[in-house]
């Protein structure tokens, strides 16, 4: 049976997968073809969306990239009807393609099923090995043995802090209590991160299975998945998957005929970044304002409704079934001394191939950027990578050789975080980057701690001042002082890490700051108030388009004569720069 599988995760959908799907439906119906149409999750090649996998009569798989509704007819005609694959559009298939290098250095544990199976079907999941680990854990392992396995795998929490998962489960197991809870943290608030979303959309059953195993291990009978409400697709897939799992007896009473029971509820989060912090998240599930609270007591001792609670990230849970099935050693054999297994990264920015990758720990930044992502776009220079989202920091290109693991990344001043990687080239202003992230955290601070609430606001104001050319020589010291105090005296991770983008850019790109302050220049030409526009007389043809485009009437000149920009009147909007077809407007 021939199959057409459309990648319908959020990334696919936003590239137009729905229309492509409908087009296939229409064409298949019209031509009455013996072809099944299915959907799947994200395979990671977001730079090639919309992706459509075609399984032809020979049992061969072809992955078409950049499919548009217009191309659907052609693909059907040529490949399905005439069995002639349209090789130029194939990004993965039986023949080598340029895109194969995207996968060579990846190692897929968490994403093992994403983009391969139909996330709407529990059978597809079971067929791919789903719930086998649950069976093994429940029927062959004692709860302690499960915890031993997880501990032995040296899996560290993928939600950001990297706490050893097995150890955490052990705490929750040892906490006395009549009721315990398992929470899956799917709040994924980092701007630019979409690992958890992809996993939930592409392989919800693995996460559910991981949670059930955790429930068994720590002695909990109830679980919550806290998903941000902005992930409607993930929520829908989860609801469906939970219902299916209940139907098959993987959730509910007497799971797999044992006396273990477990249920999962979904809680939609209101979307505040700080609600991803575990104590705030718990408060939010309880219906209280999502504010972090003091720890201890840790959730393992007193969490949801005051009961022992184990909270893990989506990716953490998705690793669990693999570990149970393949054994702790298999997992621990991957990675470095400090960090084992793999890590999923969401790559965005100026690289050629943006998307979702899963790599073994210990890979270098350069390998990810050059080998997997194929380097920078437009032949620009790699300048820095921001790891860990707003809580992370910028690692300069010079340090591209470092191996990715928790310890190494922390040493740079950034954090592993949940896996967002924003790759920047020479056209990025580092002060602007710091400002962007600080603006985010400043807005998302819950407002409790004085330094986080007020300190970040003032830091932001200083950065604004610097990017507007009003910076003072003393600003950098002030910034560092404040950053230090915000970091040291904030209660939760948000405040403690909020200064990281500023501190790392100051550490690696201090000169850029100084140029802003002392030379009143933005080397990357990003901070518009610091730019000067001049017309190069020898290039100017005097066509006058720039003068017409200028909203401030700052450009004057006779027709056919070189024009001239009145610096006092210029509002630095850059329209003249964009309007000149002769490259006569010079930006500095």
């Amino acid at each position: 049976m021939k199959q057409v599988i459309v990648g319908m995760a959020t990334c696919g959908l936003s590239a137009g997968a729905q229309k492509v799907y409908e087009k296939f439906e229409e064409v298949i119906r019209e031509k009455n073809l013996p072809v099944t149409l299915k959907e799947t999750g994200c395979i990671g090649m977001c730079y090639r969306e919309v992706l459509v996998e075609l399984q032809d009569g020979d049992g061969q798989n072809y992955l078409y990239g950049e499919v548009t509704p217009e191309r659907v007819g052609e693909i059907v005609e040529s490949h399905l009807l005439q069995n002639k694959p349209l090789l130029p559009w194939v990004v993965r298939g039986p023949h080598p393609t340029e895109d194969d290098s995207f996968f060579v250095k990846q190692k897929r544990i968490v994403l093992r099923n994403c983009g391969h199976i139909d996330p709407n079907s529990i059978d597809a999941s079971i067929h791919a090995g789903g719930y086998h680990a649950l069976r093994k854990a429940l029927l062959e392992y004692s709860p302690e043995k499960v915890i031993d396995e997880v501990t032995g795998s040296q899996l560290r929490g993928r939600g950001g802090a990297g706490f050893p998962t097995g150890v955490k489960w052990g705490f929750a197991r040892r906490s006395a209590g009549d009721k315990k809870y398992v929470i899956c943290n799917a709040d994924e608030g980092d701007p630019g991160a979409f690992m958890d979303r992809s996993v939930l959309e592409g392989d919800p059953h693995s996460v559910i299975e991981g949670m059930i195993i955790c429930g068994y291990a720590i002695g909990a009978k109830e679980g919550y998945i806290y998903v941000r409400a902005e992930y409607p697709k993930a929520i829908q897939r989860l609801r469906q998957a939970i219902a299916q799992a209940e139907e098959r007896g993987f959730l509910g009473e007497n799971i797999l005929q044992t006396d273990f029971r477990f249920r999962i509820k979904i809680k939609e989060g209101a979307g505040a970044f700080v609600c991803g912090e575990e104590t705030a998240l718990i408060a939010s599930i309880e219906g209280r304002r999502g504010n972090p609270r003091l720890r201890p007591p840790f959730p393992a001792v007193s969490g949801l409704w005051g009961k022992p609670t184990n909270i893990n990230n989506v990716e953490t849970f998705a690793n669990i079934p693999w570990i149970i099935l393949n054994g702790a050693e298999a997992f621990a054999s991957l990675g470095t001394d400090d960090s084992k297994g793999t890590k999923v990264f969401a790559l965005t920015g100026k690289i050629k191939r943006g998307g979702l990758v899963e790599v073994p720990m210990g890979i270098t930044i350069n390998e990810i950027i050059y080998d997997i992502c194929s380097g920078m776009r437009e032949g620009k220079q790699f300048k820095a990578v921001q790891m860990g989202g707003p809580s992370g920091g910028c690692i300069p290109a010079l340090m591209g050789q470092i191996q990715i693991d928790y310890a190494q990344i922390t040493k740079t001043g950034a954090i592993m975080g949940s896996g967002g990687m924003v790759v920047m080239d020479e056209s990025t202003c580092m002060v602007d980057v710091a400002k962007f992230f600080l603006n985010f955290t400043q807005n998302e601070s819950c407002g409790k701690c004085v330094f986080c609430r007020l300190g970040t606001k003032r830091m932001l104001e200083i950065l604004e001042r610097i990017t507007e050319g009003k910076g003072k020589g003393s600003d950098l010291d002030l910034l560092e002082d404040l950053a230090q105090k915000v970091r040291e005296t904030s209660l939760c991770g948000l405040g403690q890490t909020a200064p990281n983008p500023v501190l790392t850019t100051l550490r690696y790109f201090r000169q850029e700051y100084e140029t802003h302050i002392f030379d009143r220049k933005c080397p990357a030409h990003v901070c518009s108030p610091l730019l000067t526009y001049t017309i190069l007389p020898n290039c100017c043809t005097g066509c006058g388009r720039c003068a017409k485009s200028c909203p401030a009437q700052a450009i004057s000149g006779e027709r056919k004569e070189p024009h001239f920009i009145q610096p006092e009147q210029c509002v630095k909007c850059g329209r003249c720069f964009a309007s000149c077809s002769f490259g006569a407007v010079f930006k500095d």
Binding site: A272, L294, E444, C446, G447, V450, L454, L478, K485
Partner: protein, 877 residues
Amino acid sequence: MVTLTIDGIQVTVPPGTMILEAAAKAGIKIPTLCNSKRLIPFGACRVCVVQQKGRRGLMPACFNPVRNGMEILTNTPDIIKARKIQLQLILISHPLDCPVCDAGGQCELQNLVYEYGVSENSFKGEKANLATDHVSPFIERNLNRCILCGMCVRICDEVVGANEISFLNRGFKMKIGTDFDRPMNCEFCGQCVSVCPVGALNDRMFLHKARPWDMKETQTICGYCGVGCTLTVGTKNGRILRVRGDESRGVNQGTLCVKGRFGWEYVHSPERLTSPLIKKDGSFVKATWEEAIGLVVKRLKEIKSEKGGSAIAGLCSPRLTNEELYSYQKLMRGVLGTNHIDHAGGYSYAAPLALRESLGYAASTNSINEIRKADVIIALRSDLSETHPVIKSEGVLAVKRRKAKLIVVNSRNIYLNKFSAFNLLVKPGSEVALINGMMQAILQEGLAKEEFVSSRTEGIEALKQSLKNYSPEKVEALTGVSRASFVEAARLFAKAVGGVILISTGQASEKKDRDLALAASNLTLLTGQIGKENAGIFILGEKNNSQGALDMGLTPGWLPGYANLGNPSERERFEKSWKLSIPEQEGMGALSILQAAEEGKIAGLYIAGENPLVAYPDSSRTKKALAAVDFLVVQDCFLSETASLAQVVLPAASFVEKDGTFTNADRRVQQVRPGLYPPGQARPDLWIFQQLSKSLGYKLNDPSAKAVMDEIKNLVPLYGGIDYARLDNPLGLQWPCSSADHPGTPFLYEKDFPAGKGKFIPVEFEEGPAETESPWFLITGPTMVHSGSLSLMSPGLTRLQGESYVQVHPEDARKLGLEDNQKVILRSKQGQITVKTLVSWNAAPGLLFVPCHFGQVGGNCLTGRDLTITKVQLEKV
């Protein structure tokens, strides 16, 4: 124990102590802006940061527990720098309007800025610009000064349980507010004001009245209810300007209710009596003390000689001090020769007397602050948020902090249910059946504390016998409570480490109160929830000195200290000491006195502080009785409904204008200290009693309150060790305190009961007389905002609640087609009133509630003297 050094000073503290407290112990003050010992550490302000030697970074002292061998530094340059930046950050948006801020001089922020010399700011920004709340009663909110310490939000949640204010918005835009930013509409206990470290939440009555250091502050005891909260009364130029609670004093530890904190205005009411009044030709004329005392003495002497002492009777209020109450009964018994004396209608102290019968002492068994440490609490017929708000807070603390289970037994859906694990909504008056049912379930399930029962109690067989009639099915039918819930409640109580029963007294019949207290006593004896800490029974008197009135013998049958009047040797002991003789025959109680008056048998009636016309049941009959008295003397702060019927009115001082002691609901004798002089010619009751005694021929050597207490001490063994020098401490002394070296007794019956064993006294549930014509049950009682007549003279309180109402359940309202705030007529056999409806889920279907304070339209116009169950008819106007 954990030993650590702080700034080089070694301290040893229990594990779990926070560095902040350990430092305090070492005499080192670490600044804080968001910490209060009344609250759980929150960690918002971060000015409390300290450093640990050998560790990087700063850590907050308020929530980091001590560890052995820690070396803590509290004042390094790094810390000082952090604090300075902190303060600078706060000051950017702070208005710095200190000259017009009420907190000036006691503002934590101001103090720190001063201490750290933060005179310049490297940051700039806009000043906060939020509208000031000029509308909410009692509380002004000027959030521009708010430093977002969250203490108001937390106390309202953790201690009050009202959750009226919360954090709104996030990050830089965060502020404190109510939902939709409406004016506040809460209990107005002012706890939020009391914790606000700056001038963001202010006592509206105190606004711009004085600088804190310009006031004199007097520590005294609240004159409203039996909790006996310590008040810090701020006065200047002869006027109260502010009342607050001090967190280091008293059972309340800074917590007060709306009456205690804001209900003092009556003291300065223009209606206060400032001169004795004598009625001439039907209207009052001002008189001098000589004239008034002369007339009273002359008429009482006449009555005594013509008709004998027993034609004279006295009713006195449990609002007076112990010294006054004692002197009053001595005057009535010894000098005027009558035992017809009583207080509070005579029906409100049956519960403590019942405990005396079964356990030995007529009072609560344990200390109020133990309630918060209990793990199961039964609120038995006690609407605590209305009657004893500060006890409610103890319950809230237990429930919220210790996850205690609260079991509410009431015939209304009272507010307390917000915190309860069980809401046992009983048919009116069937509480005893419920408790009996619980005990039967405990016996059935073998949960009784056998060892305790066999070694420390007697009469278990009789109890078992009587409980046979209380099968779960039957109790379910009698009370209307599902057996599953009361049986589960019984199990919880029986298994509790500390089980507490709270009973508030007031408007109920003598018999019902007695039965209820005995049932409670049986339950605690059966489960061993007595004679230990964090357990026991609390009898919560309605008035500030309800306990003292009983202790001081203000009853027809008991002399001070529960000496039996019928016992000649006991009588003799007092007679000898007083050099007076006491009539032999037992006197009449309050309601009998009125009955006798109605029959013309009482010629002289001396009422001190009571307002029977409002506070006693069946107002119309009370009025008849008072009118039938030849010579009525009323002594009060105001010309009350009762006083207006008198021939002579004597102006009395209020509680802030006198000294003496009150005994609160946990047997705590506490000193009342004057902050003011009484207005005009008004005088403390003690002075008046002494003047009367003197004019009647009985002179005292030393008229001071202290001397009276010395006399009490000698005659009342429970008070044997109580003297003013010892009372000068933040917590008073709890009786029994038999001698000068006795430390007082926080909880009773630890080793034994006074009579050796605790007695089971079975009580049977009797259904009230079946009255069928009137369909509605009526419950009357106090409300949170008012207590008796005095609170009605405080304009602030009457603005919150100025008129009577009838509380109707929404379902009933729907059936009757009644709206909120609609006029209805309530009619009983005793009378009728026209009031407005208050439709509320706090009522129960079929049951109405009318507050008892409002004279002409209060609940007592409808109640009968038997005070069992009142039923009424309801008509729309």
